[in-house]
Symmetry: C2
Subunit: 317 residues, 2 copies
């Protein structure tokens, strides 16, 4: 155990929990961003809501019992989906439907006997990058996480931009192809349907590259010179570029981060992405706006969730 | 002269100047939003930069000499174009090219011997609506001004969202048709090229409705039952709806205002606009988000410019 976590030298810490698409993780993190310990859930989400909620409570409790209640600054939880912060519920959660319209914040808070801060997972990831990742030198940034879907997070003045209902930053559902592919959100041509890992796989299938390819395999094909696979990454870059140009025109923030599994193909899609952004944003062409890969990988959401209590200044620190 | 502007009852006031596409206006406004007096410039912009700058200084000076230096809280100026706030210059000004890359803030400030606050005209108009117009009951709103071009202004926490260079809110150059009409900004398919008064006139010409129609005449044709003219307003509504959905997804603000001359056709384009926004934004469909017409008309920019000194809290008030 590190010297400063002994009872003689108690360390202020918070607990973050990241409810991912396939697993949950919780961590205790100190005020400087040092991870004190981490634990993973063991539940299959298919086991249903009660199993997931119990798993979340257990993971948090295991951190709290290890580091104590006295020095706990707060508990932050990042969850996927559209979140209504006022009610503390997930309104739309394609990945874990059993959690939809369930008062998750109140339920977990009451089981733990501790106030919970709920946040969208992509917002939490953006906050993590702002705290100790690629955005630690700025107060304003926007992050796009390109994975199975596309999540967005906006950090303004060092805090998550939540909007009036806590639903700001839903950047995966911005239209890039007005009559493009239909999306579960009700729209057509959402960037999520044209530039996520899922979209890469769908495009590979449409181009007869293979039925059961992973996005990594499409990437390998492109690297090996397959022109169809290269076109896919070019299309991904163009679609993300349209969204970035729009965000730059609207926000004029100094930094835009690309995160998620698809960034493994950054070299393949970045040229088209930057070309498209340049073409579509006067502000991008005439100011020192940065577009970069995020740094924290899968840990961003965990750090960001842990940082929520300090970010919100519910507890000084 | 009103009783409270006499020397016995001095009233705190500020001066706003709005540099419009064809004329400039300045006004003295008190802290409650009451306009004390207003003056218009008399210069043709074709007379060049020095004539415009002299006219601006003269208009402001006429207000200041009338109401006195003692009670002047500040001077705000709204100008068209992309503005670099750091340098106090207009970087790109299609309407008044002679002002491009000219240190207008410093020049006017030094001639008047008074600090000037420079702002984009559409941002100033949004601030005016927030202060005493359609947005006076909210702290966060976005306004689209549909005129010759399309301007945007974002008010966040009661202040203009400026971004890192002062270029935030350039919403007229957001892409709505990826391979649409080319725009002077370098992009293709900017909403300004598909939903401004200029676009309405261009569409009317393409549909052989007439070569020299005004957007008002296209509106009258639509009202009279001309189906081509009605299609034009439907297309305008759809394009604005795409932008609104994107903004709602990104910001989740409570209020979005439509302003400018094109709002005269609100009844004709609002149904398509609202349908498109509903279709493309889950947040819009599931939260009490308001989309409304602005209230202050041409005066919004003038009031907003006058409010800048108080908004920025350079001077208490």
């Amino acid at each position: 155990m590190p010297e400063n976590t002994t009872p003689e030298h108690p360390v202020e810490y918070s607990i973050g929990l990241d409810l991912g698409g396939t697993n949950l993780r919780a961590a205790a993190v100190d005020r400087t961003g040092r991870m004190l310990n981490k634990v993973s859930g063991k539940t299959q989400y298919s086991e249903g809501r009660e199993a997931i909620v119990s798993d979340m409570v257990e993971a948090i409790e295991s951190m709290r019992s290890q580091f104590g209640k006295e020095n706990l600054s707060g508990i932050g939880i990042g969850v996927p989906g559209f979140i209504s912060l006022k009610e503390g519920i997930i309104k739309n959660c394609a990945n874990i439907p059993s959690l939809e319209n369930f008062p998750i914040r109140e339920e977990i808070g009451s089981r733990l006997g501790h106030k919970i801060i709920l946040e969208n997972d992509a917002n939490a990831a953006a906050l993590g990058e702002k705290w100790i990742g690629a955005g630690r030198d700025v107060d304003d940034l926007i992050m796009l996480t390109l994975g199975t879907g596309i999540g967005g997070g906006i950090i303004s003045n060092g805090k998550v931009l939540r909007g009036v209902n806590g639903m700001a930053g839903e950047l995966g559902h911005i239209t890039v192809v007005p009559n493009g592919y239909p999306c579960g959100c009700g729209n057509r041509g959402c960037v999520e349907k044209h530039a996520s890992a899922t979209a890469i796989i769908a495009m590979a299938k449409l181009l007869n590259l293979g039925d059961n390819l992973t996005s990594k395999q499409v990437y390998d094909l492109a690297l090996a010179g397959n022109q169809k696979a290269q076109m896919i990454f070019q299309s991904v870059g163009e679609c993300i570029g349209i969204v970035l140009a729009m965000l730059i025109n609207a926000f004029n923030f100094p930094l835009y981060l690309i995160a998620g599994g698809v960034t493994a193909g950054w070299d393949l899609f970045a040229p088209a992405l930057l070309d498209e952004t340049r073409r579509r944003s006067f502000t991008f062409r005439t100011t020192p706006t940065r577009v970069e890969c995020a740094l924290l990988g899968n840990e961003a959401g965990l750090y960001g969730a842990a940082y929520l209590p300090w970010s919100e200044k519910l507890i000084p620190g």
